[in-house]
């Protein structure tokens, strides 16, 4: 199966090891992975700020780059949510194709590859930080508000990792407060939300906070490093690809 790896711009620039982990993981699971070198950004930062019209050339470029592929996979729930729900470009057919074929990594592993066994070991206490766009936007799990049977693709995958112990914060899926430009525009509330989230992870006894989204983790890790909290932050792909 050929998969195009969609590397969100901030992962490309700040977290290349996360993209490498996703690449390694997909190849290990038998995918032929192609990395379109002309990819830039999906346009989400602009669109979420209210500039979807200005972002149209960015989105059109994204569609051109990824339209040839049958499967497009990204290690980010947020960017995939944007692609699936807010992508705008003139070529409506190509847009629809790209929207239907773009998957968040964990979702791709569970729904398409139906991975049941991950050959990885990670003997640590891990708390999952569900990114809101992944959880409520893409349905990677059952959000705590919803009165339907519980499930979680991310936890289903992490449970396959040898030695890994999942711990749960008291508020299962509260937002971390990143929210794109919200983190800066509403700095006070954003920081407060992040600190509360970190406190909840610490009281749950977590050593590691794992997420499908480095954007949430960039915010949480930024706070934790400033306050020198004893927490590590890893993308789920890093754990599944064999981080230690």
């Amino acid at each position: 199966m050929t998969v195009a790896l969609f590397v969100p711009c901030y992962i490309d620039q700040f977290y290349p090891h996360v993209a490498r982990a996703a690449l390694t993981l997909l190849e290990r699971l038998g995918c032929r992975v192609e990395v379109p070198l002309d990819q830039t950004c999906c346009g989400q930062p602009l669109a979420n700020t209210g500039f979807a019209r200005e972002a149209r050339p960015v989105m059109a470029h994204f569609v051109r780059v990824f339209a040839p592929y049958e499967y497009i996979v990204a290690p980010s729930g947020s960017c995939v949510f944007h692609v699936r729900h807010h992508l705008e470009a003139d070529d409506a057919g190509a847009v629809r194709h790209v929207q239907q074929r773009t998957y968040e990594l964990c979702q791709f592993l569970r729904e398409v590859l139906q991975v049941e066994r991950i050959p990885a070991r990670f003997p640590h206490r891990v708390a999952v930080h569900d990114s809101c766009h992944g959880l409520r936007g893409l349905g990677l799990g059952r959000p705590s508000e919803r009165m339907t049977p519980a499930y979680s693709m991310v936890r289903d995958l992490l449970r396959q990792v040898d030695g890994l112990e999942l711990v749960e914060p008291s508020r299962p899926d509260e937002c971390c407060g990143f929210g794109g430009t919200f983190a800066v525009e509403e700095e006070a509330v954003s920081v407060r939300m992040g600190r509360d989230r970190l406190g909840d992870f610490l009281q749950a006894g977590a050593e590691v906070v794992a997420s499908t989204d480095m954007s949430c983790l960039m915010h949480l890790e930024g706070l934790a490093r400033r306050e020198q909290l004893p927490l590590r932050f890893l993308h789920v792909a890093e754990i599944l690809a064999g981080a230690d």
Binding site: C9, D12, L37, P45, R136, R146, E187, V191
Partner: protein, 466 residues
């Protein structure tokens, strides 16, 4: 709501920062509302068909709103047939004028009012007070806010932001009772003070939770019985309602009643659910149907679903921003997520920051009993607001970013420059006052090489050679 006076722009971020600055209060407020959210979860979990009810409620509201003319006329005919007097108000001014005329022609000097967000929206209290009519709010939370001469901070629990000691102090100052009363004692004091007003009042004003078109009846849901006492004692009952409060049939009511109190406070039902039909002998019942921007909103193809709202407040209780920024940070009659999509429809310039007072986490959409896609509407409002009101410099930055991100070459060069700056610039420059991110957070560390650069070097060339 569209006055001729230009009102100042609500700066949510600044007001929120002020609220958060009192860390202890912000934490208490957050925890208190989170407990209400948990009560809602437990109450909803007891209803196996909860999600089905939400779908149904949403569909019923969509149906009513798309046939509103029909149901309004049906309601009017049915209500008149059983002796209710129906009035139509195009806007807040007409609403206030109608209510005042009804009171003035009957010589009413004192009126008791149960909770009605519509009268807040229309500014009825100051309007009547300026014309010599005393208005007593009888909902306890609302009464507290009235004694403080402040608006409610939450649509269901108006004084949620106040601690009991603050209320005790207020009662001490305004009602002349000893300071440091317990909550039970304060309720007793309030009840005694209000009882006298109930007996004096020449008219009672209530809001309306639902109006049933088929029967021409009104439904009012309260927990304190204050609406009932008011309307049963006073010779004149004036019920005011937005035109979106209609439901088609009495059987539809069950869907909403099962959702409303569970979503609002985690109760299976409100303590009182009162149906108002034929007036008792000697009593007048008036219904004022208020538009005030609602039919214009109904014409907005993207934003009409906000009219489905049944004012349960669940979106406020679950909102991680509202819980930490307080109701006043929205500067609006209806705060929180629903306010953030309602208010810009009335005055886009004034409420331009509200669509940004959200991390777009979507929790509001998930708790909404009528499935309003609040997060998607916030996104859509940002598209309206951004290009028009966002400061010029930021707009320019957005255009520049779009140019960079639309071109692989420019993206590569900009990325290299950004990472170089993060690695090389001294900390005092990187973390200068311009850096809102860095006030409380470290910036991510920048690698020498981006992923795509690494891939081009190691993998792409290998692929090419193969």
């Amino acid at each position: 709501m569209e006055g001729f006076i230009e009102l100042p722009v609500v700066d949510h971020a600044r007001l929120a920062a002020r609220f958060v600055a009192d860390a202890e209060r912000a934490q208490w407020h957050d925890e208190l509302l989170w407990q209400v959210r948990l009560k809602r979860d437990r109450a909803a979990a007891e209803v196996p068909e909860w999600e089905e009810l939400r779908r149904l409620a949403s569909a019923i509201k969509a149906h009513v709103l798309s046939h509103l003319d029909h149901y309004l006329e049906q309601f009017e005919a049915q209500a008149r047939a059983q002796g209710l007097q129906v009035h139509w108000a195009w806007d807040a001014a007409a609403h206030n004028r109608i209510v005042h005329e009804l009171l003035a022609t009957r010589g009413a000097r004192c009126v008791v009012k149960s909770k009605s967000m519509l009268t807040e929206e229309c500014g009825l209290n100051p309007y009547l007070e300026a014309r010599g009519i005393e208005v007593i709010d009888t909902d306890l939370g609302e009464r507290i806010m009235q004694l403080l001469r402040q608006p409610p901070s939450h649509i269901v629990t108006p004084a949620i932001h106040l601690r009991r000691e603050e209320v005790a102090r207020l009662f001490h100052e305004k009602l002349g009772v000893p300071a440091h009363l317990t909550p039970e004692e304060m309720v007793r004091v309030a009840r005694q003070a209000l009882r006298q007003k109930f007996l004096e009042a020449e008219a009672a004003i209530t809001g309306v939770n639902f109006a049933v078109a088929e029967t021409g009846t009104l439904v009012v849901c309260t927990n304190e019985g204050n609406a009932d006492l008011g309307m049963h004692l006073a010779p004149v009952h004036i019920a005011v309602m937005g035109i979106e409060k209609l439901i088609p049939r009495l059987v539809d009511l069950g869907v909403f009643l099962r959702l409303l109190a569970r979503s609002a406070t985690g109760q299976p039902l409100t303590v009182y659910t009162t149906h108002i039909g034929r007036p008792r002998p000697g009593q007048e019942v008036h219904v004022v149907l208020v538009d005030n921007g609602r039919s214009r909103r109904l014409g907005l193809s993207r934003f009409w679903p906000a009219l489905k709202c049944i004012r349960c407040g669940a979106c406020m209780n679950t909102c991680p921003v509202y819980r930490r920024s307080g109701g006043y940070s929205y500067g609006a009659t209806v705060p929180g997520p629903i306010g953030a999509i309602l208010m810009p429809g009335y005055d886009t310039a004034r409420y331009q920051t509200l669509p940004y007072a959200s991390s777009l986490c979507g929790s509001c959409r998930e708790v909404c009993p009528v499935q309003i896609d609040i997060d998607e509407q916030l996104y859509a409002w940002r598209q309206e607001v951004g290009p028009r009101y966002v400061p010029r410099l930021k707009r320019l930055a957005m255009r520049l970013a779009a140019r960079v991100l639309a071109s692989p070459g420019r993206y590569r060069r900009a990325g290299r420059l950004l990472r170089w700056s993060l690695r090389r610039l001294p900390r005092r420059i990187l973390y200068g006052p311009w850096n809102g991110w860095g006030r409380a957070r470290e910036l991510p560390s920048a690698p020498a090489e981006s992923f795509l650069e690494w891939y081009r070097k190691t993998r792409a060339s290998a692929t090419a050679q193969r």
